[in-house]
């Protein structure tokens, strides 16, 4: 693959994607193109399908119709191909999902040594670099249960970064945190955003969206209702549903 070719293939390309749980349609006709390096914030009321959509990108959920391509590779039932894509797509979860039986450092080193076959010493050096980046290198030898929620989420970000992915998915990363810990996580995410990694972030933090997003997407009822750069999205939303949602989220 040549360099020009690589920058032309979008990081994520979703075409006419739909998904249902039984007779309930969670996602209908989603079309989304995320070029490399773009920061996308996805918002919408609960049950709008936003989490399901980003979970389809690394196939934690399976889509029923349409196509998803990640970095030019189409997602299908091929397990080897799914693992290949997951290596390049990091994910940060609402409930952190750190491995409780391993230290912070082991959490960070596990996937690079198993999946990328990085030598242990190199993997540890990389892990320490990212733990410094999320500002908790001194916790490396503790277990997740000994850390605060904000610290755990920062470890989870470092763990995802250790695979050196091209794309990072955030699934409501601050929703399970106590209010005083939200900013320490958002600060780390803002730093990351300035470094060129592709980010797709489901969040209700509209301040973060204003500062960081290249594009904000509003979903409701399993559809993308509206999208646009933050300056127009927040100032002049076009649909009624968006206006109603924003008035509820931005009230205080």
């Amino acid at each position: 693959m040549t360099r020009t070719n690589q920058s032309e293939t979008p990081a994520v390309l979703i075409e006419a994607m739909s998904k249902s749980y039984g007779s309930f349609k969670v996602l209908r006709d989603i079309n989304l193109r995320v070029p490399r390096g773009e920061k996308v914030v996805v918002c919408g009321p609960s049950g709008s399908g936003k989490s399901t959509m980003i979970r389809c990108i690394n196939r934690l959920e399976q889509h029923d119709e349409g196509r998803i391509s990640v970095l030019g590779t189409e997602l299908n039932d091929d397990v080897a191909r799914i693992d290949e894509i997951r290596r390049e797509v990091g994910m940060v979860f609402q409930h952190f999902n750190l491995f409780p039986h391993m230290t912070v450092l082991e959490n960070c080193v596990l996937a690079p040594t198993l999946v990328r076959r990085t030598p242990r010493a190199d993997a540890e050096a990389i892990a320490m670099r990212y733990l410094e980046k999320v500002r908790i290198p001194e916790q490396a030898l503790k277990y997740p249960g000994q850390l605060s929620g904000g610290q755990q989420q920062r470890v989870a970000i470092a763990r995802a970064l250790c695979m050196q992915p091209e794309i990072l998915l955030f699934d409501e990363p601050t929703s399970a945190l106590d209010p005083e810990m939200i900013n320490e996580v958002l600060d780390v995410m803002v730093t990351l955003a300035s470094e060129g990694i592709t980010m797709i972030c489901v969040t209700h933090e509209m301040g973060f969206a204003r500062r960081v997003a290249d594009r904000v997407i509003f979903m409701d009822g399993g559809e993308i209702v509206e999208e646009g750069p933050p300056e127009t999205f927040f100032v002049a939303p076009s649909s009624e549903r968006t206006k109603k949602f924003l008035s509820q989220v931005l009230r205080h």
């Binding site: 409930h95 596990l110 695979m163």
Partner: protein, 357 residues
């Protein structure tokens, strides 16, 4: 600390408060104390003070005594420990027991929990055990499995049951969780069927019925068929314990591992099983303890494990009166093994609690 040291008077008043607050409770406390003291005295008197310890004199020396006749153990311990194993070769059986105990102890030490070390322990251990018990090498007389007995046989059946049954239980638990419905249903059917049958009937089937169904070269010795049967029984129960442990692992763990690109086998071995086994540990130790004691059921298919050997030890006319002493001795042996197992379980629980909130 020093200041909190209760004075003697303090302790006495505590005692009074707890056991003698009212006349009725005081009476009950005294009655219970009297009962306990009498019981303890009876046991000490029977087991030690009035007991006969010498091996000389045989059963006749015991007839006169009031207390326990420990001379039955002194006279017959070799039958209890080694069963039908030829008398002159019993040192081999004793060494084999030590080999098995050493194998168990080493496998239990965290320092040996690497693939190479554990494999080395087991390969060397099994080779030594066979060399000693079966012979036929290094000038040792050949002694077939049908002559094995006593403690060595009990330990051998227990260890092989766990060695085959434990990995099998993990495989069954994983299969039962399979996303393919026909795999999970068939596995469920196997587990539930085996659990529905009594162990005795399974041992009978493997010892007596299976030879009619298998070609000769596949039958193996009766001992190994019985071990396979008991391992299957162990695995069916343990599989459900492991599955319960797996259900206690948060769903997000699997998702996080998937999202990192970690493949199925590493997800199972590094993420799922370590957490599932921690959840399942108390029930697992329970299962091991039960299995140790259930080895005594092989008596029904004609094996002289330690309990059956004990029966034989007092069953010869002259010692028939001394069965209590023999059973007490065997109970002590069971106790040593099972109690160590329980303490080891408690040690593991403490060790695994590391990092848990």
């Amino acid at each position: 600390m020093m200041a909190r040291q209760p004075a003697a008077g303090d302790r006495l008043s505590n005692l009074r408060k707890r056991f003698f607050p009212t006349p009725l409770q005081a009476a009950l406390s005294l009655a219970s104390l009297a009962l306990l003291v009498t019981l303890a005295w009876k046991i000490v008197d029977w087991a030690i003070l009035s007991a006969v310890f010498t091996a000389e004199g045989g059963p006749a020396a015991c007839k006169a005594a009031e207390g326990a006749c420990w001379s039955v153990i002194a006279n017959r311990w070799r039958i209890i420990m080694f069963g039908l194993y030829p008398y002159d070769e019993q040192w081999r059986s004793a060494l084999a027991c030590l080999v098995v105990v050493a194998m168990i102890v080493l496998s239990c030490l965290p320092a040996f929990w690497t693939g190479k070390r554990i494999a080395a322990v087991w390969i060397v251990g099994v080779a030594l055990f066979y060399g000693l018990m079966k012979g036929g090498v290094f000038g040792l007389r050949y002694i077939g499995e049908e002559a094995w007995g006593g403690l060595a046989l009990t330990l051998f059946i227990f260890v092989s049951t766990c060695f085959i049954g434990f990995p099998l239980s993990i495989v069954l638990a994983l299969l039962r969780r399979s996303e393919l419905p026909w795999i999970s249903r068939v596995t469920g059917l196997i587990i539930d069927s085996v659990r529905s049958l009594p162990l005795i009937s399974i041992l009978f089937a493997f010892a007596v019925v299976v030879p009619f169904m298998l070609p000769g070269w596949l039958q193996g010795d009766k001992l190994y068929r019985v071990i396979v049967g008991s391992a299957l029984f162990f695995a069916a129960y343990q599989a459900e314990i492991v599955r319960g442990g797996m259900q206690g692992v948060a769903h997000g763990q699997e998702e996080a591992a998937k999202a990192l690109g970690i493949g199925y086998w590493h997800r199972v071995s590094r993420i799922l099983l370590p957490q599932a086994m921690r959840n399942a540990l108390p029930a697992t130790i329970n299962q091991f303890v039960i299995s140790f004691k259930e080895t005594s059921l092989v008596i029904v298919v004609g094996f002289f494990e330690i309990l059956a050997s004990g029966n034989a030890a007092y069953g010869t006319g002259e010692w028939t009166f001394a069965y209590v002493e023999v059973y007490a001795f065997i109970a002590l042996i069971y106790f040593v093994f099972v109690y160590s197992l329980s303490r080891y379980g408690a040690f593991l629980e403490r060790r695994m609690a590391v990092g848990a909130r």
